[in-house]
């Protein structure tokens, strides 16, 4: 019953600096961090540890005040070094000074096949793996009390320079399989795995329906796959888990520990040798970027260039990110830059002088962070639809958000999309709107209403 979905709409942003498929040796960073800001929809973080306390990998660090039984746990063992707070004492980072040898909290090995749903959820909540489970609508950490109609896993990532999931999970096949089995206890519906031609062989499972998806970005977005396979309607819930999260859940049940080790792609045009590193969730990037990037003013992005977050050279990777991208900052004036013909500045469009399409689909581009224009009202029509392979009208949805029209937002499908699904709209927009921020505003409005 597997489905084959062929998508035409979308756009691949082909950047320079694709990671070579090898895992390089790297001294582990001294500190790791948990950032409450990574978890969208968290009402207020409440700390369970104090500075100076020692923790193990899997020791609860904080909880969400609104959902007190889901623990956010330390990725490594060590000592709580610093709690960084922002305005109104909002917690920004909990930094942990890591031990040389990681000690794990023991959660006990489980027999996956005889596991009950309640026991599975209970262990996931207290061990730190639960935040891997994301809920649609809204793209927030799932509520353990819900029962989703299905669970989706996208086994490939089409974002610019994204990590190759087959490669990063090499050797974790049995954990992935166990993870699927655990997840299958959580839903009465199906587990869907979206694969492309390259990941089809790797991500197989007897417990899941494997759907083949082809096409340009955002074909790898789990939201797009949900839309075509089992769309989210009002009142329904679907859960999504990234492949890394599935393997982590599997490992927890098979080995009884919260293992936050992960393979991270170090990518971007300003990286001297783009490759993979093995580290732990929330690692400081200082060791990774020290002497490995080109000179000049660069930007470090936890994640990819479409949906990632800017961090500084001593910042920490986000909980959900398995990629660090380094691109040049674009804080230069550009003489007549708005009209001179160019083949080097990537564009989805073909307006006068935008000749990047001449390079063909294989050409790799170096993009800077320059805005390439100024913010304007919506003018162009019909372009967003070309990069969103869903039956959604992005412009109208965004206008519904801006006018806070709840009925329209619901009707136009706000339950089906999160930021990453409309990120390409933000990229191609001639009026330079912050599409993702507008969408999140709408998602928050609907979620909290």
């Amino acid at each position: 019953m597997s489905q084959s979905i062929k998508l035409k709409k979308g756009f691949d942003i082909n950047l320079k600096g694709k990671a070579e498929k090898k895992i390089a040796e790297l001294a582990q960073p001294e500190t790791f961090a948990i950032k409450p800001t990574d978890f969208l929809g968290m009402s207020r973080a409440k700390l369970l540890v104090k500075e100076g306390e020692s923790v193990k990998a899997g020791t609860p660090i904080m909880i969400d005040k609104a959902v007190e039984d889901v623990f956010y746990c330390s990725p490594v063992s060590g000592e709580v070094a610093e709690i960084v707070r922002g305005a109104k004492r909002k917690i920004l980072e909990v930094r942990i000074l890591a031990d040389k040898e990681i000690e794990y909290e023991s959660f006990g090995q489980q027999d996956v096949s005889s596991l009950t749903k309640a026991a599975a959820i209970d262990l996931m909540k207290k061990s730190g793996v639960w935040p891997n489970v994301i809920q649609r609508p809204f793209g927030v950490v799932a509520d353990p009390n819900d029962t989703p109609k299905s669970i989706f896993i996208s086994a490939f990532d089409t974002h610019p320079l994204a990590a190759d999931q087959n490669f990063t999970l090499q050797g974790d096949e049995k954990y992935f399989e166990a993870g699927i089995e655990v997840l299958s206890k959580l839903t009465e519906g199906k587990i869907h795995i979206g694969v492309n031609s390259e990941s089809a062989d790797f991500f197989k499972s007897s417990k899941a329906q494997v759907n083949t998806v082809s096409g340009p970005h955002p074909a790898g977005n789990v939201g797009v796959q949900i839309h075509h396979v089992d769309a989210v309607n009002k009142g329904e819930t679907v859960w999504t888990v990234a492949p890394f999260g599935v393997a982590q859940i599997g490992k927890l049940f098979l080995e009884g520990k919260y293992d936050a080790s992960r393979v991270v792609a170090f990518t971007g045009s300003e990286v001297l040798t783009p490759q993979y590193y093995k580290t732990y969730t929330g690692g400081c990037i200082n060791k990774m970027v020290d002497g490995t990037t080109k000179d000049g003013f660069v930007r470090f992005i936890s994640g990819n260039v479409l949906t990632g977050t800017q961090i500084n050279s001593t910042g920490y990777l986000g909980f959900y990110d398995n990629q660090l991208t380094v691109i040049p900052e674009g804080d230069q004036y550009d003489f007549m830059g708005w009209i001179l013909p160019t083949t080097e500045k990537l564009s989805f469009h073909k307006a006068f002088g935008l000749l990047s399409f001449l390079g063909g689909k294989k050409k790799e581009f170096t993009l800077t962070t320059n805005m390439r224009g100024q913010h304007r009202a919506f003018v162009q029509s019909g372009e967003f639809e070309k990069v969103v392979p869903m039956d959604v009208l992005p412009t109208y949805l965004l206008k519904a958000v801006l006018s806070e029209d709840f009925e329209q937002m619901e009707g136009l499908g706000i339950y089906e999309v999160i930021e990453e699904d409309l990120a390409l709209c933000e990229f191609i927009d001639a009026s330079k709107n912050d599409v993702q921020a507008i969408l999140r505003e709408g998602l928050d409005l609907v979620r909290t209403s």
């Binding site: 007549m336 564009s347 073909k350 962070t369």
Partner: protein, 396 residues
């Protein structure tokens, strides 16, 4: 280009907060960004890289698409002048005469329009949007070459202030700005924008037998008569003027930029290839006009209705309106299905207005303005269909 950056770096503080001309920051800024695209970078979240396109480039693409119409229009204005006074002139003379007529109109249009844009930007403290770059060129192209400059200025001011700024500026207007200017003149000064106004005579007087009537005016006359309209067109005082081929090329009296269907089609190719103009709208306007004209042929109650359908595509401003006016993304339908309906209705309405309401010879202007008003309604139903599909899925 370091030296240019240095110059601007020196001037800039005068306009920034605390500078002596800080009030005029947005006027200064609008000029700076033309020479130096800004150094602004993306925010810490969201897309960290952006597409090379911006509105300026989009608008410039439209202007480039209008250049064939403009150049042809300049030559044609001169050409028609010399024909009407019965003189033979060189190509250069025709261009020169045309340029003397047309360039001031363009200057007034841009001068008045941009002046108002800068004023509003300064008062409301916002950046100057690019919308008028296109409107400022469209307005001259839909004016007769002999139009008094004060009328151009007045119409432009009316269009920019009441057609755009009161709605919130570029992107917020309901009607096409250039057409508002044209419609304003049409209703405010009907005698100066209809009748024998299409040709400039200068100090000379026209040759004997001269008639400045356009094909549309002849069409309005043919409604009453019994002579076929094609023969009326063929009977023009200047032989071959209103042959189909000549009208397609556009060597005939009319507004500056809209006589040549050929030049409009070149513009259409530019707009469609660059993706800036919607091919769906352009095609559907022509299809709607041709379809409606064919229906008229079938009924054939009078000579104008019997005019072969393809003639309708080359007379009046249909081609220009279809390519440059109907495709204005702000005032057109914004859904893809809506664009088909919108364009088709513009085409059909143009013929209906032309043929059945000869008091308004130029149907395309009113048809587009009318459909501008209805575009949101069309979109409303297309969007409603999307919502219904989603609701239906939910109950299955």
């Amino acid at each position: 280009m370091k030296f240019i950056e240095d110059i601007f770096a020196k001037i800039r503080p005068n306009f920034e907060k605390g500078g002596k001309w800080e009030k005029f920051y947005y006027v200064y800024e609008a000029h700076e960004v033309l020479l130096l695209a800004p150094n602004k970078t993306t925010g810490p979240t969201g897309a960290q890289v952006r597409d090379a396109i911006d509105l300026k480039r989009m608008m410039m693409t439209v202007i480039i698409a209008m250049i064939p119409c403009l150049i042809f229009g300049i030559w044609n204005a001169g050409h028609q002048h010399y024909i009407s006074i019965g003189e033979v002139a060189s190509l250069g003379d025709k261009f020169l005469t045309g340029a003397i007529l047309v360039v001031p109109i363009i200057a007034v249009s841009y001068g008045v329009g941009l002046g108002i844009e800068f004023t509003f930007a300064t008062i409301n403290r916002h950046e100057v949007a690019e919308g008028f770059l296109v409107s400022g060129m469209l307005i001259p192209l839909v004016m007769p070459a002999s139009i008094p400059l004060w009328q151009v200025g007045l119409a432009t001011a009316f269009a920019v202030i009441l057609g755009k700024e009161v709605f919130g500026g570029t992107g917020m207007n309901i009607l096409n700005v250039a057409l508002i200017a044209r419609a304003f003149l049409y209703f405010a000064y009907p005698s100066q924008i209809s009748g024998d106004v299409w040709t400039y005579f200068g100090d000379a007087s026209p040759v004997e037998g001269f008639s400045g009537a356009t094909p549309l005016a002849i069409g309005a006359l043919s409604v009453e008569g019994t002579q076929s309209m094609v023969s009326l067109l063929d009977a023009h005082w200047y032989e071959g003027m209103f042959s189909f081929q000549n009208m397609f090329i556009g060597i005939m009296p009319g507004s500056i930029g809209e006589t040549s269907t050929l030049m409009c089609l070149i513009g259409a190719v530019i707009l469609v290839v660059t993706g800036v103009g919607s091919w769906k709208i352009i095609v559907s306007v022509f299809a709607g006009a041709f379809g409606m004209a064919t229906i008229c042929n079938i009924f054939g109650a009078n000579e104008y209705m019997l005019l072969p359908a393809h003639y309708h595509l080359v007379i009046g401003g249909l081609a220009f309106g279809a390519v440059f006016m109907a495709t204005d993304p702000v005032s057109a339908a914004q859904t893809e299905t809506g664009k088909w309906i919108y364009g088709f209705l513009i085409g059909a309405l143009t013929i209906i207005i032309r043929v059945f309401n000869p008091a308004y010879p130029e149907g395309i202007m009113l048809a587009i303005l009318l459909m501008n008003v209805f575009a949101p309604l069309i979109d409303h139903y297309v969007v409603g269909a999307n919502i219904k599909r989603r609701l239906k899925r939910a109950t299955v």
